[in-house]
Symmetry: C2
Subunit: 247 residues, 2 copies
């Protein structure tokens, strides 16, 4: 199977990392819209316009599936992408919800969703969880985590102060959905902050779980064909891909 992975920037590489670990695809074409990142502060119509452009770009590759690694795009533009695409399109929001539900079982569990302002405002995670009878949901826009991760601040005083800023009045939840692909890079610190009993849901792992349920993968691809595209500064994407994916 040939897969396209779309993200607003570099964050989707955390999803690619999970996909590579599971050796599911023969070819992965990654497109990061680095010229227009971040999407998380943009409005709905702009996000939809950019997402449709990404689908058009992927039409050059005869793909079997597109994964939307960006939570903001998954929250706002999935229907519009599906209308335009000639192959199936899967988003991280639905996968994250399914993974949370699989791990929690108890419908009274407290779930905390963290993401960009746009993702949180969309209420996409809440709506999906409510439809499965989960109602104890809090959502918090924790937008500062994105520039922190992009400055390679994965621990230390600024991050701890930022946790306090966002979470000082937050009850320790049973699960946290990491509703932004940048957040796995600070998941260790988040786990320490909230304690070991809180389950963290990671988009990359959630997507793999979802795919293995929906599709039959008869072969393993240890060395898939990887193609990376960026709408600007491809060198930066290459460097980060090397670092994060250990290529």
């Amino acid at each position: 199977m040939k897969l396209g992975v779309f993200d607003s920037g570099i964050g989707g590489l955390t999803v690619v990392k999970s996909l590579l670990e599971h050796e599911l695809f023969e070819e992965i074409v990654y497109f990061g819209d680095t010229a227009r990142v971040p999407y998380g502060i943009k409005d709905k119509n702009t996000i939809i316009r950019y997402a449709i452009e990404a689908v058009e770009f992927f039409k050059n590759f005869e793909l079997d599936l597109i994964i939307v690694a960006c939570n903001t795009v998954s929250a706002y533009a999935l229907d519009e992408m599906r209308e335009t695409s000639t192959c199936p399109v899967i988003g991280v929001v639905e996968s994250g919800v399914l993974a949370a539900v699989n791990k929690l079982h108890d419908k009274n569990a407290d779930i905390l969703i963290i993401g960009t302002k746009a993702t949180v405002n969309s209420k996409a995670y809440e709506k999906a969880l409510n439809s499965l009878s989960y109602y104890n949901i809090q959502a918090k826009a924790t937008g500062l985590f994105v520039p922190l991760v992009e400055e390679e601040i994965y621990s230390g005083e600024i991050l701890q102060a930022t946790f306090k800023h966002y979470f000082h009045d937050t009850k320790v939840p049973h699960a946290i959905i990491l509703g932004c692909t940048h957040f796995p890079l600070i998941s260790g610190e988040l786990q320490n902050y909230f304690g070991e009993d809180t389950i963290l849901i990671h988009s990359g792992d959630a997507i793999v779980e979802h795919l293995e349920k929906e599709f039959i993968f008869s072969k393993k691809y240890k060395e898939p064909n990887l193609k990376f595209f960026a709408s600007e500064n491809p060198e930066a994407l290459r460097n980060i891909a090397k670092k994060w994916l250990g290529l």
Copy 2:
């Protein structure tokens, strides 16, 4: 005189504020490229392309002057804007340098430039200061200040930790050039951190100083005609303009 003010987003409103306080213009047309903000992480060619588009937009207004409030655009795209524009174009970098030199006198003064990654990488401030024989210059990309200000974090623990992160090994300078229009909103805290002897150079004040030297303003305009345009989410721009400019 009719003025255009261009910024990548909302930050340029701090420049408009200084202009309004001095009552210099009959009309001010502000354009913030809010759909594509921030520019400070983009590459040179993208910044130039967007800047030229802004000049084309301003051609609808028969302007006498364009001020580039964005340091990143001033650092990278001023020549290209001047080639395209039918009226003069002034950038905050040259104004900031002139203001610093006017206040410092001593060519051995230590000057610290802070700005986005793109502004610092351009070395635009250093080059201009070197050409005036100022050589004791340090530049530091302090990109996190932008999202902090946009989250309305103007003081407190995160900001102090961020100061420490960026400046723990920085010698107290004679002057700091605030090389990003967001930074005036944390200038009080910066002044406290570095102490009262350090001179802070603010783009808005620097532009006014520069204009009053270059042009003759024979009339005062207490209630100029103000027009604000945003490439997305004009409501957000309107709300912040009301708050920051006290309209």
